[in-house]
């Protein structure tokens, strides 16, 4: 598995949300993309998943340019996403939500029980709530469901859009522990976060995105000590600058 983005530009109407960004995610890594609100993180993930059209540049997945592959075929290629805001189907049960993660797989019947068991092992809470409607779960449970559902597709790369957003500190710890565990099981992860402290301490490599441009690329551990990153994303100063 290798996901490579080359010189990607994406527009909303006349607004250029991504201004020619490039990044690479290699097999087995956790790569994090950090940046303030409005930097273009969600746009990046949406474009990788095919929800936003590419204006220029390339998305290369396993050596193939996938710019023209429709969004609904990308899950089956191996690109899964737990979107910003979690995207739970509120009127479906937890089990139905998980089953939706396999919607487009030809092998879904054969894999279903095995993959459900794997997700339930990661998230025992989901098993307890299996017959409950997705809309009735707490924020943390919904995030678990969003991640679990993305795993149902057996992704080669898992895209996570601010999994810690809106969660209590205990739950944030819990979610990041699980992200690390999923990665230890061999799933490659592209993690978008505003919680830079957590993201940088979990990831292997990191990119900093500022107003549609990548301004830094480094080992995650190194960025934890970077003066600019420290003042902009890690300290209390974050509020004053962004």
């Amino acid at each position: 598995m290798r996901l490579e983005i080359k010189n990607l530009s994406v527009y909303y109407g006349k607004i250029e949300a991504l201004k020619g960004i490039s990044l690479v995610v290699n097999q087995g890594e956790i790569v994090t993309l950090i940046g303030a609100n409005g930097a273009g993180k969600t746009t990046t993930l949406k474009t990788i998943s095919g929800l936003r059209p590419v204006t220029s540049g390339e998305i290369v997945f396993d050596g193939v340019n996938i710019n023209q592959i429709p969004a609904y075929e990308r899950a089956d290629l191996g690109i899964s996403q737990a979107p910003e805001g979690r995207g739970i189907f509120p009127g479906m049960t937890v089990l139905e939500n998980l089953e939706m993660g396999k919607y487009n797989r030809k092998t879904r019947k054969a894999e279903m029980s095995e993959d459900l068991a794997r997700v339930y092992e990661l998230f025992p809470r989901l098993k307890e709530r299996a017959t409950q409607a997705g809309g009735t779960l707490s924020g943390g449970e919904q995030q678990m469901l969003a991640i679990g559902r993305a795993l149902m597709a057996r992704p080669k790369v898992l895209l996570l859009d601010e999994p810690s957003m809106g969660l209590a500190p205990m739950m944030i710890q819990n979610i990041f522990n699980i992200i690390t565990e999923i990665n230890n099981q061999g799933v490659t992860i592209l993690l978008v976060e505003q919680n830079a402290q957590q993201a940088l301490s979990r990831a292997h490599r990191a990119y900093v995105l500022e107003i549609g441009k990548i301004t830094k690329e480094a080992k995650a551990k190194d960025l934890l000590n970077d003066p600019h990153v420290k003042s902009a994303y890690l300290g209390t100063g974050a509020h004053e600058i962004f």
Binding site: Y72, E96, Y103
Partner: protein, 317 residues
């Protein structure tokens, strides 16, 4: 206000209201399903129903060879005739609904046109179809042959049960049950629900929206076609403008139940059927259509979420 008649005939009126409500409910499913996936009021849906009535008529005369003057039929031929007319009406309406979506909505949608543009396109399709049928039928209503002798076959709690209406209630109930199972149990049915609840996430799951939309229009059309056959079976006539009032009533039923909500459409359909029948007795049949319009306005003003569903004001038309 004839309350005496309402009370003395209450059981029979209730039965009639349920039969009418079954027809409304079947049509309103099409409005609600399409609204669910596209957040669009499909104004051409009334014409999908109208075309179904003519398809049933054509099936009875050209396929089964039954004319207006013919004696009632019975036995196997009757059953076969009913099935053929029902299936032809359903398939025709289903195909028309799918074509309307392909021709009038899909390209607008794929180009990211505003919901308002699509709505205007819907109204345009509706007018075009009505006018086409006006020309083809010389603006005249058409009679539908009476397949079997209509008679009161039972008396339940004082309600006079007429055989054709009982058949309609039963058959409509079966259709609703099958549709409900289809939506809640099958893969593509779950796709329809998923798109209704969160379109973007549905795409991330691997759902092809265009396919789901096509199936949604097909389902709505099949139900409208069934309603069309039941309508001509009971009322024994149709015309190019039959879709207008039936459409308004069925749309009102969908809004009353909560648009976008399938069970809401069923509840709304039966509630409106009953209200129209009771109201017609109280105020006179001339007021029948006023009742539906009034309820529509009242629901929009007082409880836009309907009984079970979503606010139409969130529709962003």
């Amino acid at each position: 206000m004839d309350f005496e008649l309402l009370f003395s005939e209450f059981p029979s009126l209730t039965f009639d209201g349920i039969a009418l409500g079954a027809i409304y409910a079947l049509i309103s499913l099409g409005y609600t399903l399409v609204y669910g996936v596209l957040r669009l009021i499909n104004f051409a849906h009334s014409e999908v129903f109208m075309i179904g009535t003519f398809a049933a008529l054509l099936a009875s005369s050209d396929i089964m060879g039954i004319n207006i003057e013919d004696e009632p039929i019975s036995g196997a031929k009757l059953i076969l005739t009913i099935i053929v007319c029902l299936v032809v009406a359903m398939l025709t309406s289903g195909i028309v609904a799918v074509l309307v979506e392909l021709v009038a909505y899909r390209r607008l949608r794929n180009r990211g046109a505003s919901k308002l543009a699509t709505l205007i396109s819907a109204i345009g399709v509706s007018i075009t179809l009505v006018e086409a049928f006006r020309i083809m039928t010389d603006s005249l209503p058409r009679e539908f042959p009476r397949f079997f002798e209509k008679s009161f076959i039972a008396d339940i709690f004082g309600a006079q049960i007429r055989n054709d209406k009982l058949l309609v209630i039963f058959a409509a109930g079966v259709m609703m049950f099958v549709l409900d199972q289809f939506i809640s149990k099958t893969r593509i049915g779950k796709g329809i629900r998923a798109v209704s609840q969160d379109e973007q996430t549905s795409v991330l799951m691997g759902i092809n929206i265009n396919k789901v939309v096509t199936v949604t229009f097909l389902m709505g059309g099949l139900m409208a076609g069934a309603a069309a056959f039941f309508y001509v079976l009971v009322y024994e006539n149709t015309s190019f403008r039959v879709g207008f009032f039936l459409g308004i009533s069925a749309f009102t039923a969908a809004v009353l139940g909560g648009i976008g909500n399938i069970r809401g459409a069923l509840v709304g359909g039966f509630a409106l059927g009953l209200l129209e029948v009771y109201g017609s007795v109280l105020l006179g049949t001339a007021w029948k259509h006023v009742i539906a319009f009034t309820i529509l306005v009242l629901v929009l003003l007082l409880k836009p979420t309907g009984l079970l569903g979503e606010s139409i004001q969130q529709a962003r038309v």
